[in-house]
Amino acid sequence: MAFQPLDPLLHAELRLAVMSLLIADEEAEFPYIKEQTGATAGNLSVQIEKLSAAGYIKVKKTFKGKRPCTICRITAKGQKAFTAYVEALKGYLEVGDK
């Protein structure tokens, strides 16, 4: 049985965690993602940048009062990629169960 390749962009702990969170929440502020994933701000920024460059998420920089606020939102491309990743994952898990 041929395995479907796993999207290398999603096959990384932090990026997968961010995408899973955004699949559930659609849109989230940077501090919330940081709190939920337990990542450092620097590492998270780098991974968000990678996901954004691939068009999987959209990053909006805005202000909340006087404080800057970064909002991440999953795109249609990101949702599609995530679905494909989960589908591919199923193949690996089914083989593992046999």
Binding site: A17, I23, A24, E29, P31, Q36, L89
Partner: protein, 220 residues
């Protein structure tokens, strides 16, 4: 979390499940905070309204209930001032829409019932009013008990479902009325009928809002 290309399929699945569960949990905690604060304020308010009504011997201070949503909103704003906001999610939106629907029904019912009761009081005899008058507080509290149980179903928290049912049962039994009715003489208790909504609200706020809210808030 580090970048790890050696991720196994099991670990990937674990991460996805964990994050989705975390999202559900943060909605649960947020709902818990909201229920707890609402319950606490409603309890304090019922004591204030009942005391003011007793001291003045008029039911006029029931008008204070209209200030309840504003007080809750102000306190929630203060409590959440330093918290990271919980983002919109499917679960969160479902909970919100359930409450908005129930509150809309409660509001429409209370307006219709108030107008109906005023008209009835002015144009009909007290006997007719006694039988045909609409009961506002028990109906609204029943609707809220339904909302609590529905929230429990959405959040997959069976304790919340049971608290909703329990508050409904307590409401229907009139537990406090039963105790106070036995402690006080029937004449005094009958005269105190104008503070009974406060007693119902106090009990509901404790069992249907504050306790389940506290439980949700405290979950790890």
């Amino acid at each position: 979390m580090e970048e790890n290309m050696e991720l196994t399929a099991e670990r990937s699945l674990e991460i996805i499940t964990e994050q989705i569960e975390k999202s559900r949990r943060s909605v649960s905690k947020d709902t818990g905070q909201w229920l707890f604060v609402t319950g606490l304020i409603a309890m304090i308010m019922s004591v204030i309204v009942a005391s003011a009504n007793l001291l003045s011997w008029t039911p006029l201070f029931h008008l204070l209930w209209f200030a309840l949503p504003v007080v809750i909103w102000l306190v929630m704003k203060y409590v959440n001032r330093n918290r990271v906001p919980v983002p919109e999610s499917l679960v969160g939106t479902l909970v919100k829409k359930t409450w908005y629907t129930i509150l809309a029904f409660a509001l429409v019912y209370s307006v219709i019932a108030t107008v109906w009761n005023i008209v009835l009081q002015h144009y009909e005899s007290p006997e007719v009013f006694l039988h045909a008058g609409m009961h506002i507080t028990p109906t609204i509290l029943t609707l809220l008990a339904v909302a609590v149980s529905m929230t429990g179903l959405i959040l997959k928290k069976s304790s919340l479902v049971w608290f909703g049912l329990l508050s409904f049962v307590i409401l229907k039994c009139g537990l406090l009325s039963l105790i106070l009715g036995r402690l006080l003489s029937p004449t005094v208790w009958a005269k105190l009928s104008f503070i009974r909504p406060c007693e119902l609200i106090f009990l509901f706020a404790l069992v249907g809002l504050m306790l389940p809210g506290w439980m949700l808030k405290k979950q790890k």
